[in-house]
């Protein structure tokens, strides 16, 4: 047991002679299981959990009421109108899809790059991905007007419609990209969780728990032959998810970039959107994990080093996003198209100037604080910065969509005024997200137990490997 904490809880210092520990306090395999399973095995969750859950469910109910109102009344209950037919719904869609990018990035790309620090955070990040994609899919899903024929989105042979989707439309690409992304993320998340659900199954004390976790764990035994194929399948899924995660936000950006509108019709959109997605997604992961680790006493598994690494990625992607903002202005000037120049001048000083400056402040200026180690390693500071980053990223999408208010023809200009339903649905989508996330924390393993065990340093490693390296590569 980790009764004596000889190792400091600070593993953020770089020592070239030795790889930093990813699991602190000399936790044994049993300790790791105990630490994670305790969240679910506790008789009742912490009080904070109840508070968060209650608020989330209230917001979720609000969302339900808004959806009912929307379905009964039609999309006119939103502020969408000429010239902005895409208001909050598309802003929220892109915002949530962007957030959903961090999970697969952590699980797939960092896996292929052999970044072992991903093991402590990938499970929660993947869960976050799936819940965010659900929130994202909601908005275009209910925007189609006649909800009950939603299946016309897919290439389904119909008897009386006698038509098919247009496979050259970015909006259809979106259906395929987001649908594939949600499905593959779900498979990846669930497959990674099966061994850990088996852990819950083998520890379950109640009959219901035993049955449910037995069914979910598919009879997993941890056989070496099973592990062999499992690891192969995991690697293949990671290799598939890596281009997929880049393709999804690329295709989302095509929704804008393939059109002719000044401010949208730019080739920089795909990389710029992907960088922004990773930026906002990591910010959301940090926002979720910092309270989680304190609440569930996971400090030895999700260490400051993990958080610091994520903050470094946030800073790096923030700089990419900032560069993209600059390049957009440069190209508008360099290209010499006056409509383009007007569009960008209008962004910074026009009818939605405040949104632009919120975006630049939160996305470009504030993350620069992460150059200082104190900000990267201070819990409160990083949560505040990450919250601001997500505010900034929401406004980024708002700024982009509001290009519609002033296009080529001044006579067709107009402003966008969101309705109460717009605001309530935005809040309600957070309710949906946090309801799912709090339930996930309560009933499923929030940390990839089996993967963390593999990167933890154990006493027997020291004996047999002469303490040279251990497993913590």
């Amino acid at each position: 047991m980790a009764a004596s904490v000889d190792l400091s809880l600070d593993n953020t210092y770089e020592d070239p002679s030795r790889r930093a520990d990813l699991v602190l306090g000399g936790m044994t395999y049993g300790d790791i299981t105990e630490n994670v399973a305790a969240i679910w095995e506790a008789d009742r969750p912490p009080r904070t959990w109840y508070i968060v859950f209650t608020i989330s469910v209230i917001l979720l109910a609000t969302l339900g009421a808004c959806l009912f109102h929307l379905i009964m009344q039609g999309v006119g209950v939103w502020g969408n109108n000429n010239p902005v037919y895409w208001g909050f719904p598309i802003v929220n869609f892109v915002f949530w899809v962007g957030i959903g990018h961090a999970g697969t990035l952590i699980s797939a790309i960092l896996f292929l790059f052999r970044q072992n620090w991903r093991t402590s955070i990938n499970r929660a990040a993947e869960a976050m991905t799936i819940f965010a994609v659900i929130c994202a899919g909601l908005f275009p899903g209910v925007h189609i007007g006649r909800l009950w024929v939603f299946y016309w989105l897919f290439p389904v042979p119909t008897e009386h419609l006698a038509m098919w989707p247009n496979f050259r439309s970015p909006l259809l690409w979106d259906v395929f990209a987001v649908g594939t992304y949600a499905t593959v993320s779900l498979l990846f998340w669930y497959m990674g969780m099966v061994p850990d659900i088996a852990t819950f199954r083998d520890r379950a004390k109640t009959k219901v728990g035993k049955i449910v976790y037995s069914l979910l764990s598919l009879g997993w035994t941890g056989s070496a032959r099973n592990w062999h194929r499992y690891e192969m399948a995991y690697t293949i899924l990671a290799a598939l998810a890596t281009p997929l995660v880049l393709s999804v936000h690329t295709i989302v950006s095509f929704d804008f970039a393939v059109s002719q509108l000044p401010g949208w019709h730019t080739t920089i959109f795909p990389p710029y959107f992907v960088a922004g997605a990773i930026f906002s997604g990591f910010a959301m992961v940090v926002t979720l994990l910092v309270p989680c680790r304190s609440l569930y006493k996971l400090e030895r598994l999700i260490t400051i080093r993990h958080l610091e690494n994520m903050n470094k990625i946030i800073m790096a992607t923030g700089l990419m996003v900032g560069t993209a903002y600059g390049i957009e202005f440069f190209i508008a000037w360099y290209g010499g198209v006056k409509f383009e120049q007007f569009a960008f001048f209008n962004r910074a000083f026009g009818n939605y100037w405040f949104a632009y400056w919120i975006m630049v402040s939160c996305n470009v200026f504030i993350p620069q604080l992460f150059w200082f180690k104190w900000f990267r390693t201070n819990l409160v500071a990083m949560v505040i910065i990450c919250l601001l980053v997500n505010v900034g990223m929401w406004f980024e999408r708002f700024v982009i969509v509001m290009s519609l208010t002033r296009d080529f023809l001044p006579s067709s200009w107009g402003n966008f005024i969101p309705s109460l339903t717009d605001y309530l649905m935005l809040a309600g989508s957070f309710g949906l997200f946090f309801t799912l996330f709090t339930l996930f924390c309560r009933y499923l393993p929030v940390i990839a137990i089996s993967e963390v065990k593999n990167v933890s340093r154990q006493p027997h490693d020291e004996i047999e490997h002469h303490g040279s390296e251990g497993h913590a590569h």
């Binding site: 008897e159 098919w164 050259r168 690409w173 498979l187 083998d202 070496a224 062999h228």
Partner: protein
């Protein structure tokens, strides 16, 4: 550790259970790998290791061959690529199939089958199918889900998902001998050894399942029976539509007499006469249709009674001449522009612009009647392919003396083959064209026949002269 003793006695095996394997427990991954190596050396073939996480080097120690999963996924990926291409080709580039035909979209002048625009969907289909292949392929190859595994009955084995490591030697292995194998496992460092038994008593299927199976089998016969009953029959009942179409919306249509609200026997009528709309009160004038002034709207002096209908393309079939015999008398046409019209340079250039939109096709730019449509139609009528009355030259001696009200009436109601333009050209624009026609007549431009006439610019003073 909960169990300190090494040899656990099997828990009440009973006569109706069978030992299937010996399960040895180890406390760390290294001793498990070492024991697996020893078991392989000892010649065991049917043995497996169990661990809470994938242990490095255990594949070599056991001799696990590389899985074929990647090749399976690759094969599925190629199939998905073909399917994705076919799907997009069939649905967007063909439309000749008799059942569920595709729909050809003409998009921005691209070819019907435009590969670059099909790449995003193709990519997503490949990724999705490959992900399914690796996910389901892995579980199938692993023989999972398998819920009735006798290993799960061993309480000690529950720690395999926590912190313990196990080596299982199958009883059906050729080298297996209960006592010797047990001894070997101890030698290789096993901390505890248990027998794994499969219970033979509860292998019978419960009666309730049999009953349910029989009921299900009969239920499955129902659809084919119904199909058999309906074969070769026709039905007047409409097809079942789960989702109602837009065609059947419950609504009143403006011009309709039978509302589709309510049932056929008891329609929910909006008005008693079955109409969903009221007729306007007699004498109602539609917005913009108030045409009070005879001078302004009809081109003749008030009080000069209009005779029986003179207007319309068929009113005087042969010629537009006012004094043609057999035509009814005409009203007194205005000779001055009516009140509210100021003829200035801007007004005449407006007239010129309108003239060039509506009139030049037949009358030509200079009003000679050499417009392209007229030339073509005359050509066709010379060969007998079409009947055509030549468009009048505006400089024709029969046209030149006409009062401006008469010209206005011609534009408004048409003459001979010339159709009425009142629905296309607003009143004021008609007067503007009249002003321009007058200007053309005043200047009297007559370019040589056969050359394209140039647009004429009317000086401001000419326009005022016309007034």
């Amino acid at each position: 550790m909960a169990h300190s003793h090494k040899h656990d006695k099997p828990v009440d095996t009973g006569p109706k259970s069978k030992m299937v394997s010996l399960v040895a427990q180890f406390d760390d991954p290294h001793s498990l790998v070492a024991a697996c190596g020893r078991a392989r050396e000892a010649g065991y073939k049917k043995f497996d290791a169990y661990s809470p996480f994938p242990v490095h080097g255990i594949d070599d120690a056991i001799g696990i061959r590389r899985t074929r999963l990647p090749f399976f996924v690759l094969a599925i990926a190629f199939c998905a690529c073909g399917f994705g291409l076919f799907l997009q080709y069939y649905t967007n580039a063909t439309d000749s199939s008799p059942i569920f035909p595709g729909y050809k979209y003409a998009i921005s002048g691209k070819p019907m089958f435009s590969l670059p625009a099909n790449i995003p969907v193709l990519f997503e289909i490949i990724v999705l199918s490959s992900a399914f292949a690796s996910f389901f392929g892995m579980w199938i190859l692993n023989g999972l889900p398998r819920f009735a595994n006798p290993l799960h009955r061993l309480p000690r084995f529950r720690r395999v998902t926590n912190d313990k490591f196990f080596l299982e030697i199958d009883a059906s292995d050729e080298k297996f001998n209960e006592n010797r194998s047990r001894q070997q496992l101890e030698e290789w460092g096993a901390r505890a050894i248990e027998e794994c038994h499969v219970d033979l008593t509860d292998q019978k299927i419960p009666q309730v399942f049999k009953l349910a199976g029989i009921v299900l089998a009969f239920a499955l016969l129902l659809p084919p029976a119904l199909i058999y009953r309906a074969h070769g029959m026709t039905s007047r009942a409409p097809r079942l539509h789960v989702v109602p179409d837009m065609d059947w919306q419950e609504k009143y249509k403006t011009q309709g007499t039978g509302p589709n609200i309510g049932t056929a026997d008891a329609p929910a009528l909006l008005f008693r006469d079955n109409h969903s709309m009221r007729k306007p009160v007699p004498g109602t004038i539609a917005r913009g249709d108030l045409t009070e002034s005879d001078e302004f709207h009809r081109g003749y002096k008030t009080g000069t009674l209009p005779p029986a209908k003179t207007s319309g393309p068929n009113a005087d079939a042969q010629d537009g001449q006012a004094a043609a015999p057999g035509t009814p008398p005409e009203p007194e046409w205005v000779t001055e522009f009516p009140e509210g019209i100021v003829v200035d340079a801007a007004f005449v250039s407006r007239g010129k612009q309108r003239f060039e939109i509506y009139c030049v096709a037949c009358h030509g730019y200079s009003g000679n009647g050499d417009g392209l449509v007229n030339q073509r139609a005359l050509g066709l009528s010379a060969t007998g392919e079409a009947a055509w009355t030549a468009a009048k030259s505006l400089h024709d001696p029969t046209v030149k003396p006409q009062a401006i009200g008469r010209i206005y009436d011609t534009i408004t109601n048409g003459r001979s083959t010339m159709g009425p333009y009142k629905s296309q050209i607003p009143v004021k624009d008609r007067w503007a064209i009249v002003a321009y026609v007058r200007a053309l007549q005043e200047t009297g431009i007559k370019p040589p026949a056969g050359t394209a006439p140039a647009a004429t610019t009317i000086p401001a003073n000419d326009a005022t002269k016309a007034k």
